[in-house]
Amino acid sequence: MRYLVLTGLLIGALLTLPLLVVALIVAGEPLFGISGWQWRDFLFALFGVILLVAGLAVVTMRDIIRCGLAMIVCFAALAGLYVLLGAPLIAATQVLVYIGAISVLVLFAIMLTQTKAAPTRLVFQSQAPAAAVAAVILAFVIGIVVVGTAWGDVSAVVSTATDTLAGVLFTDYLLPFEVVSVLLLVAVIGSVYLAKRDEESGG
């Protein structure tokens, strides 16, 4: 219970942090007088650490409800990173869709599939050590590739103007937009059909 309250406080603080980010970026103040370190660098480090710690908590924690709550924290930190990257519409969509819809869906599924009969003695499969080695190697390979590639002239963050984005979305990308909406409808109908109880088998 104590952990749940703490997690709730953390989530509340994280949900208000994007506003703080916007205010600080607009102000553009240097951080505590340290030369070269702006507030956005500090916030990048903060959100990055929260993101990675919450991500590790999602995959390692024993209680699956807490995994779901850690996933919400992870998504909120990602929304902050999107604001730092100058994409406020993506950040808002992240909060609405991931925190508002997908997390709630996952938490409901956890509640529907938890049984007292199935003990949570073993969280990991027997292949977990090999998976850990493979994941660390994957992270290192991605890091080496990222650092070793010359990305060209990438020095400044370009903000996304929401009205331009809307124009592009409804002219150039109109067909993908409609296809995605049909896909969502198909997914909703299909999941209702899959999760429905069969009357004849009484299941």
Binding site: I64, L81, I90, V97, T113, A131, G143, T160
Partner: protein, 104 residues
């Protein structure tokens, strides 16, 4: 500084993707595996938005692609969780290593 470098965001996305890979390979609970897939999709999304923010010609296209990824991830989560619930109704367990009907 670090918040204005593409490398920082890409490395962050790479580490998050690796964490998601580990969770997908190592967890026993099917819902934990779905949550790990969500982490991986979010990592890819972060990389897409980072490229869009730092390459001026890509800004709008990257945002549109990120929105599409979020929508497809929502559809994937819906169907995946419905499948997990349907299997749970038959087998009475959410643990994937106990789904061994093909073994016998």
């Amino acid at each position: 500084m670090i918040a204005d470098s593409l490398d920082g965001y890409l490395i962050l996305a790479g580490i998050l993707f690796a964490i998601g890979t580990f969770g997908f390979l190592a967890r026993r609970n099917a819902i934990s595996m779905l949550m790990s897939i969500e982490l991986m999709l979010n990592a890819v999304n972060l990389a897409i938005v980072a490229f869009g923010a730092f390459v001026p010609g890509l800004t709008n296209d990257a945002s549109v692609i990120a929105l599409m990824v979020i929508a497809v991830a929502a559809a994937e989560a819906t169907v995946g969780l419905a499948i997990v619930i349907a299997i749970f109704r038959n087998r009475r367990t959410p643990l994937v290593d106990e789904y061994h009907a093909m073994n016998r």
